[in-house]
């Protein structure tokens, strides 16, 4: 286990390094000129040059890269090129929206995927199972933006139960209102993501149903369905861990679009704005934080998977 964790850890660090290199150098290949943007169209070339120097953009690329990474290792994500504000502080503040949103989405997705996935597997070949499968296929094809709009029409405009968009200025000091305004966005991601994962759980359950230990239990007098529910479902837990890993990337990506749709002041919306204004230092730090998050979750999922699946212990990485 320790050996596996170490090897996998090395891969994680390599992953983070490669990501940082890819992010940094892609953003520097052909930069929109931030200095020009700050100086405005009236500025003389000298003024632009001075701003460029004050931002450190005239230094060699490699030096800029090591500065950036060195800062991050000391917990400093840099400052915005446009406003001069600390990126780390802003990220921490926006995370207060994005983090709860991701957690809520994930909960909703699991609440849909686990029971319906297992049910559609148990009912396989009957009308109910087929109907569930078809519904999952169809919902998984729905674009998140459209799902969000339809939910807004129903729950905000027709029923008037939930706010159509926005996040209370007072934030989590008014927990009820904050929670309310995250509910529709979380439902949007949760339903679409849940439909996708439901198919995953379904096939995992079907796979479990064909395992020897389920057949043995059936041979000893349980009905096939009893055998599946008592002995097969625990094995499905394993694939749920894998699913969680897949899901995190999906939810982070989904939240970028959804925060824009519901005008939520989260990390995703911040990223979209900064890409628009080409605030490169902010964009590169935000991208690294988000990608790093996906990589770390993947790492943790692999470790848990390895720890709880006895079959993996013998295998090499």
């Amino acid at each position: 286990m320790l050996r596996y964790a170490l090897t996998r850890g090395v891969l994680l660090i390599a992953g983070l390094l490669v990501s940082s290199v890819v992010i940094f150098f892609t953003l520097r290949v052909l930069p929109g000129d931030v200095a020009q943007l700050i100086a405005g169209t009236q500025a003389s070339p000298d003024q632009v040059e001075a701003i460029r120097a004050s931002l450190g953009l005239d230094r060699p690329l490699l030096a800029q890269y090591t500065d950036w990474i060195g800062g991050i290792l000391h917990g400093d994500l840099g400052t915005s090129q446009l406003s001069g504000a600390s990126v780390g502080a802003e990220l921490a503040e926006k995370a207060r929206v994005t983090w709860p949103l991701a957690l809520m989405s994930m909960t909703i997705a699991m609440l849909i995927a686990a029971p319906f996935g297992v049910m559609s597997a148990v009912l396989r070949g009957r009308a109910g199972g087929t109907a569930m499968n078809v519904a999952a296929q169809a919902v998984a094809a729905v674009p998140v933006i459209w799902a969000g709009m339809m939910l807004v029409v129903v729950f905000a405009h027709w029923l008037g139960w939930l706010p159509a968009q926005g996040f209370p200025r007072t934030g989590w000091t008014t927990p009820g209102r904050a929670f309310e305004s995250l509910l529709l966005p979380a439902m949007t991601i949760g339903i679409v993501e849940g439909a996708m994962l439901m198919r995953f759980v379904r096939s995992a359950t079907l796979q479990a149903a064909s395992q020897d230990f389920v057949r043995t239990a059936a041979a000893k007098g349980l009905t096939r369905r009893q055998a599946l529910i008592r002995h097969g479902i625990p094995a499905v837990g394993l694939s749920i861990v894998t699913v969680l890993g897949v899901q995190v990337a999906g939810i982070i990506v989904g939240s970028v679009v959804i925060e824009q749709l519901f005008t939520l002041p989260g990390i995703g919306r911040m990223l979209v704005t900064d890409v628009g204004t080409r605030d490169l230092v902010k964009v590169q730090s935000e991208l690294l934080v988000l990608t790093g998050f996906v990589l770390v979750i993947g790492f943790l999922v692999d470790l848990v998977h390895h720890a709880i699946d006895p079959r993996q212990r013998e295998e090499a990485v």
């Binding site: 891969l11 390599a14 490669v18 990501s19 890819v22 992010i23 892609t26 953003l27 290949v29 052909l30 930069p31 929109g32 296929q137 169809a138 998984a140 094809a141 729905v142 674009p143 998140v144 933006i145 459209w146 709009m149 339809m150 807004v152 029409v153 905000a156 159509a164 679409v192 993501e193 996708m196 994962l197 198919r199 379904r202 096939s203 079907l206 796979q207 149903a209 699913v243 990337a249 999906g250 939810i251 990506v253 989904g254 970028v256 679009v257 824009q260 749709l261 990223l271 979209v272 900064d274 890409v275 080409r278 490169l280 964009v283 991208l287 988000l290 990608t291 996906v294 990589l295 993947g298």
Partner: protein
């Protein structure tokens, strides 16, 4: 083509309900895109302020939007953008996928393994992140979508194709080819690629589904289609502002995206079932794409 002359995979594809649905949807979208290049009921870009927010009926079958543009024409013209992005990113994904898979399977050992590790790392990079990176540099355009989806899916195609390529490489006919004096490149084109093509095409079909979602999502965010290009994503963004007053208008572009994505996904599933004889229904693994839009 007479039925008995069809290749077996095509027959299997058309005889499964979902496969047939996928084929029909894909053909329908392609046809709509083609027709819209020459004819749409109205000019999708011309506004008519007096005729704005017309209800569905005649002559505006799906009604008009806030500037009086005909929604049916906009949706038809949007199909062109969708087809462009799907085909474009398919081409890029094929190039990236073949290159990475070949580098990861056929070169010297150190090179092979470096590429394999690199692919394992890059696969964690969500398509949207790649798109954000490219549009931070070049600004938004449809090429951003084509490149980011193409690169992202090229990497995942390479990951699936590489082991397949390694396996086929051990086959007698490949060894015989080499013994007959074929270079690695010739062997790749003549023997290896045709044998991994089924795996490849299935992946391509799924990646096109994601391309359609990505185009809508990125155009919605303002990183995709520009104002002069009709797109389902920008249309959704436009209509969203009046969603409280005219909720019905939003239905059409969303429905178009959903049906297209469903068609491509089902086509991919059916293609895989038709081309992979080792795949039994029971052990069928589901592909789980990452939400992009």
């Amino acid at each position: 083509m007479p039925r008995r002359l069809m290749p077996r995979w095509l027959r299997a594809l058309l005889s499964s309900g979902t496969g047939l649905f996928g084929v029909i949807v894909v053909l329908l979208i392609a046809l709509t895109a083609l027709v819209s290049a020459f004819w749409t009921p109205f000019d999708p870009m011309i506004s008519d302020v007096r005729g704005r927010w017309a209800d569905p009926g005649w002559p505006h079958v799906l009604g008009t939007d806030g500037t009086g543009r005909d929604i049916l024409s906009l949706v038809m013209a949007g199909a062109r953008t969708t087809v462009f992005v799907a085909v474009g990113s398919g081409v890029v994904a094929t190039g990236v996928g073949v290159a990475l898979a070949a580098l990861g399977a056929l070169t010297a050992r150190w090179m092979r393994e470096t590429v394999a590790v690199l692919v394992d790392i890059l696969i964690a990079f969500p398509v949207l992140m790649i798109a954000m990176m490219i549009s931070a540099v070049w600004g938004g355009s449809l090429w951003v979508v084509v490149l980011s989806v193409g690169i992202g899916f090229g990497v995942s195609i390479a990951r699936v194709t590489r082991p397949e390529l390694r396996r086929v490489q051990q086959s007698d006919f490949v060894v015989a080819g080499r013994a007959n004096g074929l270079t690695t490149g010739q062997n790749l084109v003549r023997h290896l690629l045709p044998n991994v093509a089924p795996v490849f095409i299935v992946q391509l079909s799924w990646s096109m589904a994601v391309a359609v979602l990505a185009e809508a999502g990125l155009s919605y965010l303002g990183f995709g289609a520009t104002l002069t290009e009709a797109s389902w994503g920008t249309l959704l963004a436009d209509l969203q502002r009046y969603i409280g007053v005219h909720p019905l208008t939003v239905v059409w572009p969303g429905l178009a995206i959903t049906i297209t994505v469903l068609g491509l996904n089902l086509l991919g599933d059916a293609l895989r079932e038709a081309t992979d004889p080792t795949l039994s229904h029971r052990s069928a693994q589901v592909h789980v794409p990452v939400v992009v839009a």
